[in-house]
């Protein structure tokens, strides 16, 4: 599985409106629903579960990225999207710094192996300084989609 195969491209938000964690989580789940990746009737359930998960421990791992995620029985098929913020979002991150890239992962409830494989894929990219920098600079939908499609070819400095 490639990183690009994991991301539901139409749902990517190049500039999130919110500057606060819960609002941004809702924006991303809404975007996934609007573009058909999750059923609209589950938006509230998924958003609430993702926010509840954050309250157990921030998924702002530091270095300006956060990976909010939720495993839930109403999620039939794994999907993920990306939100970017030029202003920064307060995610109560481990390093207390604002977050500029949010990768949101939705997993079915009973598929821990698949969930861990997706997390591995996401973090494989996010821990590369160059990928984070390019993602932060990608200010259009096209730029983000192009970056994730070409991420495998991106060589570190």
């Amino acid at each position: 599985m490639k990183f690009a195969d994991l991301i539901h491209e139409p749902s990517v938000i190049p500039e999130v409106e919110g500057t606060e964690r819960n609002a941004v989580i809702r924006e991303l789940v809404n975007s996934l629903a609007e573009h058909g990746a999750v059923p609209a009737e589950h938006v509230e359930t998924i958003a609430r579960a993702a926010i509840a998960r954050e309250k157990q421990g921030s998924t702002g791992f530091g270095k300006g990225v956060a990976v909010p995620h939720v495993k839930h029985e109403c999620i039939q098929k794994m999907t993920a999207t990306i939100g970017r913020s030029s202003r920064g979002v307060d995610f109560a991150a481990l390093d207390r710094a604002p977050v500029y890239a949010i990768v949101m992962l939705l997993s079915p409830a009973e598929a821990p192996e698949e969930h861990l494989a997706a997390m591995e894929k996401i973090f494989r990219y996010l821990q590369r300084e160059k990928f984070r920098r390019f993602l932060r600079q990608a200010d259009s939908h096209e730029a983000i989609v192009e970056l994730i499609r070409e991420a495998d070819d991106l060589q570190d400095d």
Partner: protein, 126 residues
């Protein structure tokens, strides 16, 4: 200056740890533990955070490798790195610790993984 009578030539250097407890300066040692991931969900984000929290309580360096998967050696004090373990239930992890409190750290970290991350707060081991 106080001089200590007794064993001639034997002298302990005492320094304060962050917690203010005096600790003998010990030589750097290495400790390795291999443990199996027991919990159904594997090392997802929260267990990884707990592992890192515990690893940071020691002064030694810690690496973790998923022997079952690819054996890639990852920094046990970095949550971002440990998310690469893809440590699902049944995987064998090699925890390698180097430093002045290597044994203590290795025991505590191994116990945390073996507990299935179901214990309350870490630090009860040993």
């Amino acid at each position: 200056m106080t001089s200590v009578d007794g064993d001639a030539g034997f002298r302990c250097v005492i320094r304060l740890t962050e917690k203010g407890r005096p600790r003998l300066s010990a030589p750097e040692t290495e400790a390795v533990r291999e443990v199996e991931v027991r919990n159904r969900e594997g090392l997802h984000a929260r267990p990884v955070m707990r592992f890192v929290d515990l690893a940071m309580q020691f002064r030694s360096s810690v690496t973790v490798a998923n022997v079952t998967k690819n054996g890639e050696v990852l920094d046990g004090r970095s949550a971002m790195q440990l998310m690469l373990l893809e440590a699902t239930q049944g995987c064998l992890l090699r925890i390698k610790v180097q430093g002045v409190d290597a044994d203590e750290a290795a025991d505590a970290l191994a116990a945390l993984v073996e507990s299935g991350f179901e214990t309350g707060s870490p630090g009860q081991s040993g």
